[in-house]
């Protein structure tokens, strides 16, 4: 029909068809969203641990570990996500036979960790130095002091900026499409392919799912921030 003139709008029946297909494929797409969320949980978890370790090394470590941490950060923040994915999936394939999912967790997780370390570093540095001193005068080792005194305070400062990291990483899961993880976007693309070009509707529907997930996630984080709010740590703007 496009060859015939090309300016005809699709008939009502045709647009109905794509919605019926979308409804029929909803379980398939939601499963893809589930895979994206699993990937997100894994990469955020890895990134959280990696980011805290990097931040502690950089702020409280000796010269060597602080330089090492800064170098690692520089690498994972400086290389594009897609390049990291290709490095871990194709580049390391001869040494490390990673599944697409594992490669995505590692590449995106370490990248997220490098960004998260910046958030935690700032949060650690915003804690008055007297807090560490006071903990040490009670006989706490540096590790205990960080665990019981610094971290609980730093986490409260970190939740706000961390929620933007969460949004970024949720959307970054769609990069995993490129190494073959069957997540939401890839499944959307399959549907676009077999329905011959309903790109706007299908991708629009995927976008809607991403929006809902982002909103749900940030709401949970805001609620967490409220629950952790104690006098002296009020949420900014309240």
């Amino acid at each position: 029909m496009w060859e015939d003139g090309g300016c005809e709008a699709p008939s009502l029946e045709e647009s109905d068809v794509i919605f019926q297909i979308l409804i029929g494929e909803l379980p398939y797409l939601l499963e893809g969203a589930g895979i994206a969320l699993t990937l997100l949980a894994a990469l955020l978890g890895l990134g959280f641990v990696f980011g805290i370790v990097l931040a502690i090394l950089e702020v409280y470590g000796d010269r060597f570990s602080s330089i090492l941490a800064a170098a690692i950060e520089f690498f994972f923040r400086g290389v594009p996500a897609i390049v990291l994915l290709f490095l871990f999936y194709y580049g390391l394939s001869s040494i490390l036979d990673l599944s697409p999912f594992a490669a995505a967790v590692l590449a995106l997780g370490l990248r997220s960790g490098a960004y998260q370390s910046q958030i935690f570093k700032g949060a650690f540095q915003s804690i008055a130095s007297g807090q560490m001193l006071a903990a040490q005068t009670l006989g706490m080792s540096k590790i205990k002091a960080v665990l019981y005194i610094i971290l609980p305070q730093a986490m409260r400062f970190a939740i706000g900026p961390w929620s933007s990291q969460f949004c970024g990483d949720l959307k970054a899961t769609s990069f995993a499409y490129l190494v073959g993880v069957s997540e939401l976007l890839r499944r959307g693309s399959y549907i676009v392919a077999y329905t011959y070009g309903n790109a706007l509707t299908v991708y629009g529907f995927c976008a809607l799912i991403y929006l809902i997930l982002t909103r749900a996630g940030t709401m949970i984080l805001y609620r967490l921030e409220d629950r952790l709010c104690v006098p002296g740590f009020e949420r900014r703007g309240t």
């Binding site: 007297g130 001193l133 006071a134 005194i149 002296g232």
Partner: protein
């Protein structure tokens, strides 16, 4: 045996010599007060005693254990020395009760219930058991400093170091903190105090030590030092702080 012995300690920051051969000893149950112009190393000396700052030269002994020996388990030593800061440094995310019991729980591995009882006793001792659930941001300066004294007491220290405990307080709040400190001194706690509160020194200090430019210029009982100082510098300094503190 001396509870605390400070032997000929030196400390420099670059070219700035902060401590230049300071020595003195303290017996169990004594209160001693350090006075002197700002920047003369009083705070540095206190922080050297629990090795928050390391010395360049000299030795410090606590009940026969050499604090300054790198092999000494310093966390262990610190848990037996209380430290009260000028700006309290209460743990901002914890209630008054948690501030006081976290040391016994996390350092001495005391059971939660036992630590809570102990903490409530110490809060009672500083007159703040009704503020147990308040966060530091909800306390007045005087209350904050009293909680920080309770926090130090909960570790059952051999010695408490006070680094200008009332300098950050509004004048009308100084009294309540000094009162707690006087009661402590009278109950037999060993206390080394950096403070220019002459009234406090007069009522409980065994000895007042005047330090200037990293050296002890003069020491003596409060009545002797405050009324008949031997050195001209001591006299000048006392004249200045009398004008300020009365």
């Amino acid at each position: 045996m001396n509870l605390l012995a400070i032997e000929d300690v030196y400390k420099s920051y670059g070219d700035l010599e902060v401590l230049r051969g300071v020595s003195f000893v303290m017996q169990k149950g004594e209160t001693k007060v350090l006075i002197g112009p700002s920047g003369t190393g009083k705070s540095t000396l206190l922080k050297c005693i629990n090795r928050l700052i390391s010395l360049d030269k000299g030795k410090i002994w606590l009940e026969g254990t050499e604090v300054t020996n790198p092999k000494t388990n310093i966390d262990m030593i610190r848990s037996t020395i209380g430290f009260v800061f000028q700006d309290f440094n209460l743990f901002a995310h914890l209630t008054a009760l948690d501030n006081v019991r976290i040391g016994p729980m996390k350092v001495k591995k005391m059971k939660r219930r036992e630590a809570t009882e102990l903490a409530m006793e110490e809060l009672h001792r500083v007159g703040l058991e009704d503020k147990a659930d308040a966060y530091p941001a909800e306390l007045s300066g005087g209350q904050g400093q009293r909680v920080s004294i309770a926090r130090a007491l909960a570790m059952a220290p051999k010695l408490i170091l006070f680094d200008e405990p009332t300098s950050a307080l509004d004048p009308e709040l100084i009294g309540e903190v000094l009162e707690v400190m006087i009661d402590l001194a009278k109950s037999g706690m060993t206390m080394l105090v950096v403070s220019h509160e002459m009234g406090f020194s007069r009522s409980v200090a065994k000895e007042v030590i005047f330090i200037e430019k990293g050296k002890i210029i003069e020491k003596g009982s409060p009545s002797q030092l405050f009324t008949a100082p031997k050195h001209k510098r001591t006299e000048e300094f006392l004249h200045k702080i009398t004008e300020l503190y009365g």
